[in-house]
Symmetry: C2
Subunit: 361 residues, 2 copies
Amino acid sequence: MQTVHVHTTSHDYPIHIGAGILCDFSLFAPYIGKKIAIVTNETVAPLYLNQLTDLFKKNNIQYFTIILPDGEQYKNHDSLNQIYDALLTHHADRKTTLIALGGGVIGDMVGFAAATYQRGVPFIQIPTTLLSQVDSSVGGKTAINHPLGKNMIGAFYQPKLVMTDLNTLQTLPEKEFSAGMAEVIKYGLLGDLDFFVWIEQNIHEIMHQQPEKLTKIIAHCCQMKANIVAQDETEQGIRAHLNLGHTFGHAIETEMGYGNWLHGEAVAAGTVLACALSEQLGCLKNGDTARVAALFRAANLPDKPPKFPFNQWIAHMRHDKKVENGIMRFITLQKLGCAQISEISDMKLLDFLRNHNFSRF
Amino acid sequence: MQTVHVHTTSHDYPIHIGAGILCDFSLFAPYIGKKIAIVTNETVAPLYLNQLTDLFKKNNIQYFTIILPDGEQYKNHDSLNQIYDALLTHHADRKTTLIALGGGVIGDMVGFAAATYQRGVPFIQIPTTLLSQVDSSVGGKTAINHPLGKNMIGAFYQPKLVMTDLNTLQTLPEKEFSAGMAEVIKYGLLGDLDFFVWIEQNIHEIMHQQPEKLTKIIAHCCQMKANIVAQDETEQGIRAHLNLGHTFGHAIETEMGYGNWLHGEAVAAGTVLACALSEQLGCLKNGDTARVAALFRAANLPDKPPKFPFNQWIAHMRHDKKVENGIMRFITLQKLGCAQISEISDMKLLDFLRNHNFSRF
């Protein structure tokens, strides 16, 4: 087991990473009170809920469970209210601990419920997807969707503990494991060339879920994100680098309809576009983009975007939250392993998208 | 004009207190961006909204308004969602400033909307009732009600600025002014005997809204609350003293049906009960309770609770959030001007309520 310690302005918390750690009550013990609410979804419940409830039963911890439907389309006020209702019905008080057992959707929603129930209760995350293990464990971003926008309602709220059990990845669909790898590769690109090279060299073992390799990539990404977030907890500056590939990625997700391309797949294609844009800006060397695209392919990820009209690209990207005062800002690469913010005019972007015909990569 | 500076863990902010300050754009200027959303209710809008929008128009500040129905029964998710919808429809971004123009209900709801819209946007309070001026301006408590409990969904979130214009009190119903005075008197009792004595000596001028006296009481209460909250921002310890009279008060409100007794009226009667309990504990001197009751009467407030059965008292107080692990905790007085936490058994409480027959005061 490896542990990453995350420092935040409100408190510090550990991320424990290892195979089978969900059975180790001593890791939970310092962070739970007398009563626990476990929130999970219909997909994860049959796989891991019993394991957890058995653990609490054996240790005489009072608990109750809340099982929500699975999917991004349920990351809304109705599901949030199901959590509130259950908490109130079970007389949960300010010391009741909420546990989020599931992927990013469960983590985001339960985190927001914990942030807002009685103005804040303790919260433990058990992320069960690679994406949530590397991305949602650090940063304190919680949210639900609103009919008029994704993640529009939320709060910055930190967990007391994150338990990342590698065994939960064994039941994760391969497509989703790959989607998580898009974010892992992104971390190398935006801030650590050595890590990027290490992923290139070990991609085969990683894709076969070799436990030591998995522990290393998850711990490394969490540590990198923790360092970035520590400098910028409420996302005013450098934290924007984490959005590498996400502006193009969001446009792809919007155009294709959410759920048709996984977030990680869109981020992979979006990151290749961001690399190509960086090459055009004269930052990346010729061939760097092709090298990045090759690694995404090795992780069974798309290395180019679907084709759709220029004006759709512009329209979708304009809706991105990062647009401020009409200026379009992109995260690009100064060189492999080093991100920057670039301001790009509509005309330049149009040229870029046209020149590449979406098919160069 | 007087200014109280409030220090919080996230940032510091000023509370400006004075007559007519709502017309002074220079006080707003440092705290607003290019776009403002003003949220108010149907009662306050016809009185003060134009004054504010004229000010912003004259200074070329882009704004839009959201007018909600008036009343505690609208402090719910539907109203909150009206705010979210308007913000999204008007493309409010993370730099849009929310202004709460109204009493405690508007302040609590708009504060919660600001805490959660895009994970937090800037927020200015313009409290228009005495209660919200002395009580909601400090502490960062925001919330909405849930069908299963009052203030169950909320967050701790601080404003950037509080503008307390005494002129807004001129349109406040007398009954509500008195209700605000219950909290003012409470501050003297729980932490400052000199202030309590000063209120006794000046109660006539205060009730006639003499501006200098009003400025003093509002500034003094805000400063006292700021000192208490600074020691205990998330309500783990000493901040509980602010709940003097509130456990009995909540029981009265619940029994009578919310809205039949104003919160401040219930707190006045509840505070007299807390004093009598303190006398029985041997803390207050004989006659202290009568002295407190006399001041509440001078402020046109009830000095005794309505009569209702013992078991109802117990049942209502058990539902109070301050009950932890079945122990009933009350804020009592060590002496006038000094609060403490007392743990009281059900039997002792029953004796107390029976002995006083609710009519001794």
